[in-house]
C-alpha cells in the first residue's frame, strides 16, 4: 500500500498539494505515482515566473519505463522550482512528499483548493484504479 499523508490534498492525476499559507502551495507527485513510474531519471520543470491554469502541462517526469506529464492541479504563478531534481531525480522516488517536491505556486484563485481530494478520497481513487 502506498503512503498517502493525511495533511496533504490530492488530484486524480496523482499530484499532491501542500498548503504553505498566504496563498502559496507546494506541489509534487504521489508515492503511488512514483511507484507506477519506477526509477525517475529526468524531471522537466517550468521556469519561475511562468503562469498556469488548472490542468495545464506543468512539466514532464521521465522514468526508465515511461514519460509522464505533470499537470497543474491549481492555477497560479510558479514562484520556486526544486533545482535539486536536475542532478538528483531519484529524490522523486526516495522522498516524494519531501525532498522530491516539484514546484511552489502562488495561487491566482484560492477557492480552487476546495475542489481537491483529501487523503481518503485519493486513497479510494487509487484503490479503484488498481
Amino acid at each position: 500500500m502506498s503512503d498517502i499523508p493525511s495533511d496533504l490534498k490530492y488530484v486524480a492525476s496523482h499530484e499532491w498539494i501542500r498548503d504553505e499559507g498566504d496563498g502559496v502551495v507546494t506541489i509534487g507527485i504521489t508515492d503511488h505515482a512514483q511507484d507506477l513510474l519506477g526509477d525517475v531519471v529526468f524531471v522537466e520543470l517550468p521556469d519561475v515566473g511562468s503562469e498556469f491554469t488548472t490542468g495545464d502541462d506543468l512539466g514532464v517526469v521521465e522514468s526508465v519505463k515511461a514519460a509522464s506529464d505533470v499537470y497543474a492541479p491549481l492555477s497560479g504563478e510558479v514562484i520556486a522550482i526544486n533545482e535539486e531534481l536536475e542532478d538528483a531525480p531519484e529524490l522523486v522516488n526516495s522522498d516524494p512528499y519531501g525532498d522530491g517536491w516539484f514546484v511552489q505556486i502562488r495561487l491566482s484563485d484560492t477557492s480552487e483548493v476546495d475542489d481537491l481530494l483529501d487523503a481518503d478520497g485519493y486513497a479510494e481513487l487509487c484503490e479503484a484504479e488498481s
Binding site: G38, D39, V41, F42, E62, V64, K65, A67, E90, N93
Partner: protein, 368 residues
C-alpha cells in the same frame, strides 16, 4: 495469475514487484531497477530466467537437422560445451526466434547432441516450428526440459561468488569454462553466457534445488535483479530483444545479425537461405544502428527517426542508460544514415548521435 517459476516464493520474500511476462509472473524489480543495473555492472546480480525454454536435440541426425534449421552453422562448434548464437528463420528470411545452441558432447563422438535455449514468449510457436522441420530427417528427437530452472548470475564478481557456494568438483568445472561454453555436472549445467555484456554464468538447476541455490547466492552478496534491469543491461550491451528489435518480418541482415548467418559452405541448405541471398544481392535497405541522446530526455521504442526532415525509420528499443547517464536506443533506419539524425520525441525534433549498436561492455563505454 500467470505461471510461476520455482523461485516465486523467493521473489515474494525479497519484495519483488511482479509483472506478467509472456504468461509468467516475473519480477520487474526488487525496489530499484537502476540500483540493480549498477550492481551488475560493478559487482554481481542474479536473474531468474527459468521461464526460458530449454530443448534438447538428440538422435543420429541432430547435427544435420540443426544445420538445416538455423542460419548459423553448428559445425562451428568444435569443442564440447561451446555455444553458438543463431537466428531461426522462416522461408522469407524473417526471424522466427533467436536462440543459443550448445554442443553437449565431444564433437567427434557418435550420437552427439545439442541443447537449445529459446525465448519464453515464442515457446509454442518455436516448438511447433522445430517439430515441423524434423520431417525430412529420420532420427531427431526434441525433448523439452521444463524441470530445469535457470539463474543468470552476471557481473565482474559473479563467477567468484558462484564459486563460493558450489561443491569443489563444480568449482573445478566452472574454472575450466571458456567464454561462451557450458558444461554439465550431475544434472546441473553451468554456462559462461549471459545477456548483460558482463562476464558471468547462466546456470540450469533441477527445480527442486533452485531455491536453496538462489538463497546461497543472496547470502554471498549477489543482488536479485528483475527484468527491468535485464532490459537496460542488454540494451547497453547492444543485444537484440526478440519482438522489439526483430521479428518474423525482419531479416537478420537488417537487425545487426548478419554476423550470425553462416554463408559458407555455400552448399549448406538452411531455412531462409534463398531469401537472404536475394536480399544480399539486391542490397540491404535498412540496418540496425545505435542512437545516443546527449541532451536530456529518454528515447522510446516506436519514436520516428528523421533524416533531413524525412521519416527514415524508427526506434526498436529505447531507454535510459544508467551506466552512461543519458538515453540510448537501437533503431532500424535507412542504410544511408550519417553520423547524426533527429528523433521525433513527443512532437519535438531532437538531434541524436548515430553509433554502432553497442554501448557498454564489461562496465566501459565502447563508442566514441
Amino acid at each position: 495469475m500467470g505461471q510461476k517459476t520455482a523461485l516465486y516464493e523467493k521473489h515474494l520474500q525479497m519484495n519483488a514487484k511482479l509483472v506478467d511476462f509472456g504468461g509468467w509472473d516475473m519480477p520487474i524489480n526488487y525496489g530499484s531497477q537502476v540500483e540493480e543495473h549498477h550492481k551488475v555492472r560493478n559487482d554481481a546480480g542474479m536473474f531468474d530466467v527459468s521461464h526460458m525454454t530449454v530443448v534438447d536435440v538428440t538422435g543420429a541426425d541432430a547435427k544435420e537437422y540443426l544445420r538445416y534449421l538455423l542460419a548459423n552453422d553448428v559445425i562451428r562448434l568444435q569443442e564440447q560445451g561451446k555455444a553458438l548464437y543463431s537466428g531461426m528463420l522462416n522461408e522469407t528470411g524473417g526471424v522466427v526466434d533467436d536462440l543459443i545452441v550448445y554442443l553437449m558432447t565431444d564433437p567427434d563422438v557418435t550420437g552427439e547432441w545439442f541443447r537449445v535455449v529459446v525465448n519464453c514468449g515464442t515457446r509454442e510457436k518455436d516448438l511447433r516450428w522445430m517439430a515441423d522441420h524434423t520431417a525430412r530427417f529420420d532420427n531427431v528427437a526434441l525433448t523439452e526440459r521444463p524441470e530445469l530452472s535457470m539463474v543468470a548470475i552476471q557481473g565482474p564478481n559473479a563467477i567468484a561468488k558462484v564459486l563460493s557456494v558450489v561443491s569443489e568438483s563444480r568449482v573445478k568445472l566452472i574454472e575450466t569454462l571458456k567464454v561462451f561454453q557450458g558444461l554439465e555436472s550431475e544434472g546441473w549445467f553451468f554456462a559462461r553466457t549471459g545477456y548483460t555484456g558482463e562476464d558471468g554464468l547462466e546456470v540450469m538447476v533441477p527445480e527442486e534445488y533452485v531455491a536453496d541455490f538462489w538463497q546461497a547466492l543472496a547470502d554471498a552478496g549477489v543482488a536479485p535483479c528483475g527484468l527491468g534491469a535485464r532490459d537496460t543491461l542488454r540494451l547497453e550491451a547492444g543485444m537484440n530483444l526478440y519482438g522489439s528489435d526483430m521479428d518474423e518480418k525482419v531479416s537478420p541482415l537488417s537487425a545487426n545479425m548478419g554476423w550470425t548467418v553462416a554463408w559458407e559452405p555455400a552448399e549448406r541448405e538452411f531455412v531462409g537461405r534463398k531469401a537472404l541471398e536475394t536480399q544480399r544481392s539486391a542490397g540491404v535497405k535498412q540496418k540496425l544502428v545505435g542512437l545516443v541522446l546527449e541532451s536530456r530526455g529518454v528515447l522510446r521504442s516506436h519514436q520516428k527517426v528523421m533524416i533531413n526532415g524525412e521519416e527514415a525509420g524508427e526506434i526498436t528499443s529505447g531507454s535510459f542508460s544508467p551506466t552512461l547517464g543519458c538515453s540510448i536506443a537501437m533503431a532500424r533506419v535507412s542504410a544511408e544514415i550519417a553520423d547524426t539524425c533527429h528523433v521525433d520525441m513527443r512532437g519535438k525534433l531532437v538531434e541524436v548521435k548515430v553509433v554502432k549498436p553497442s554501448f557498454v561492455r564489461n562496465g566501459e563505454k565502447v563508442f566514441s
